[in-house]
Amino acid sequence: MSFVAHLINGISLGSVYALIALGYTMVYGIAKMLNFAHGDVIMIGGYVVFVTASGLGINPLAAIIVSMAACTVLGVTIERVAYRPLRGASPLAVLITAIGVSYLLQNVALLVFGSDTKAFSNVVTLQNLELFDGQLIIKSVTIVTVIVSIIIMVGLTFFVKKTKIGRAMTAVSEDQGAAQLMGINVNGTIAVTFAIGSSLAAVAGVLLCSAYPSLTPYTGSMPGIKAFVAAVFGGIGSIPGAFIGGILLGVIENLSKAYISSQLADAIVFSILIIVLLVKPTGLLGKKALEKV
């Protein structure tokens, strides 16, 4: 029974990674940049919920919506101020700028909220699910996390495939110049992508903090990196890939912690990433890009 419990916890953690990875993968696919600050947007999302729900006593669901709105504004602002001036510059320059933004968000949080760990109260207050006469308890937050991430993944896939903006995104990701010539507003499309990615980050932040109820300015950092690994794992740029990558990563991490070594769990996760990339250099569901000679 404990194996099943570990597995379920892994899926839950993986769903959070998947949500973050979806944001990473969309931004990467469309703006062709590694948004290193994405993990820190999660952290800000967590703080917003903490302040509004625990501090001001607003209804948790309303707090989540406030947080999503705040992160959306934040994401779009970051894109406008820091990334857009660098459109067309070396990818490395954009990467370093994203790192700068990441430092900035961490330090703003440090100044505003302090470095102490905030005890985050679970916003999911539903009853836990007990199976097999209480031998297997599945926390309600776990169930909610998994369901939410599946809904978002399906919704996003639908959005990208079926809506006008979604198709504009695909066009921009294929060829920015050509998309512009076809009358697509490239800057606007990229801004929308950041808006979606950042609001997902807010959701991820809430679920992450509900499952692991401690919040510091550095909370988003490691999950951010792991989610990026998940996105690469699944094939960066691919929405189902990010989802599968996230879930697999969470499961592998939790099972390694339980059965091999908690200290080596990260090393095992990273080793598997390396093996996957060596066998399939574009990730599980990534597309192969041919170089024209």
Partner: protein, 362 residues
């Protein structure tokens, strides 16, 4: 024939002059700092930072070899530093009383550099097949794996030989006279303090000598040709895998040298996210990018200035890292934004018309 001689001479003297300026800058800084220290103008805080400065300069120059010359993005150089640091610290601790400190440190250097080179080589074989961001994330992964493994590594030596375990100290079954060398997450304690500012500056000069001569050699040209156009390089018979590996291994081994310097400046060596994690790799990358990709002298200046900046801002206490990050973003936009680049070009044409005309044709 006349033409030929003239061109060759001017070319040689140009690169040589450039290199000499770099060496001179380091030596001059060293002299100035020593003078300031001896006249008591340097706070003990900054004095304590002199060796870390050297460490960062070395690892930044090493990383620039990978990023600027080889043209691949590595986020794992802190891992190579870590290998160099631990390999050399273990050696120095084991032979603490067995040899004079000068010889011991020299051997420690060789061991640290060799260990990091070996790991760099082994990591490079699979990693260098990947491209761009994939390569970056895999080097990051390797860096984290190295740090993780060292954190669970227990190593001890006794009369029966060397023992190691990845579980705990007890499983080493050391005898009474045994000595613990690596104590898992507690790391290595009691490494002799063999490094100082002078040693650091000498190592910077050695690193510069290796990297600059490497760049201007046949091997360096082969590496840069791969960076500029891999397919064309192959078409003229350059063995891409071989030269990528050579450059990556040399770069890793120099990062190992930085690790040796770092380890022998501390009595306790731990593999923490702060010193050997991906955050450190990123910080080094920031030095390289801000100093100018492929610009070795720039890396040195950026490493020193950016390490100094938070210390200078220390008076602003809580706000210093905030300012640091804003400065970083602003500098990136100023240096790299296509609009800013265009503007600078226009200004240069306006005010410095005498320069060699750079033709701009599509």
């Amino acid at each position: 024939m006349d033409m030929e001689m003239k061109v060759n001479k001017s070319k040689l003297s140009k690169t040589t002059k450039n290199d000499l300026i770099t060496y001179g800058m380091v030596i001059l800084t060293y002299i100035v700092v020593q003078l300031l220290v001896s006249t008591g103008h340097v706070s003990s805080l900054i004095q304590g930072l002199l060796v870390p400065f050297c460490t960062y300069v070395i690892v930044a120059v090493a990383l620039n070899l990978t990023v600027g010359i080889l043209g691949e993005l590595s986020l794992g150089h802190a891992g190579f530093m870590c290998v160099g640091a631990f390999a050399s610290a273990v050696f120095s601790l084991a032979f603490k009383d067995a040899m004079p400190s000068g010889l011991r440190f020299f051997l420690a250097l060789l061991i640290g550099a060799a260990a990091a080179a070996l790991v760099g080589f082994l990591v490079g074989i699979p990693v260098l097949r990947l491209r761009g961001d994939y390569l970056a994330i895999v080097t990051l992964a390797f860096g984290e794996i190295i740090k993780n493994i060292i954190n669970v590594l227990y190593l001890g030596v006794d009369s029966r030989g060397v023992h190691f375990s990845m579980k705990d100290a007890i499983s080493l079954h050391l005898e009474e006279d045994g000595v613990m060398l690596i104590k898992g997450a507690q790391g290595v304690t009691g490494t002799p303090n063999d490094s100082n500012f002078t040693v650091g500056v000498i190592l910077i000069l050695v690193t510069l000598f290796i990297v600059l001569n490497f760049i201007h050699s046949r091997t360096g040209r082969a590496v840069m040709s791969i960076r500029d156009n891999r397919i064309a390089a192959e078409s003229v018979g350059i063995n891409v895998t071989k030269y990528k590996l050579i450059a990556f291994t040399v770069s890793a081994s120099l990062a190992g040298v930085a690790g040796v310097l770092y380890a022998h400046n501390l009595s306790t060596l731990n593999a923490l996210p702060k010193n050997f994690g991906y955050n450190m790799s990123i910080m080094i990358l920031v030095f390289v990018v801000l100093g100018g990709i492929g610009n070795i002298r720039g890396s040195i200046i950026a490493a020193v200035l950016l390490t100094l900046l938070p210390e200078v801002l220390r008076g602003l206490s809580d706000y210093r890292m905030l300012i640091y990050s804003i400065v970083l973003i602003a500098m990136m936009i100023f240096n790299w934004s296509p609009n800013a680049v265009f503007l600078r070009k226009r200004l240069r044409q306006k005010f410095l018309p005498g320069r060699k005309v750079e033709k701009e044709e599509a």
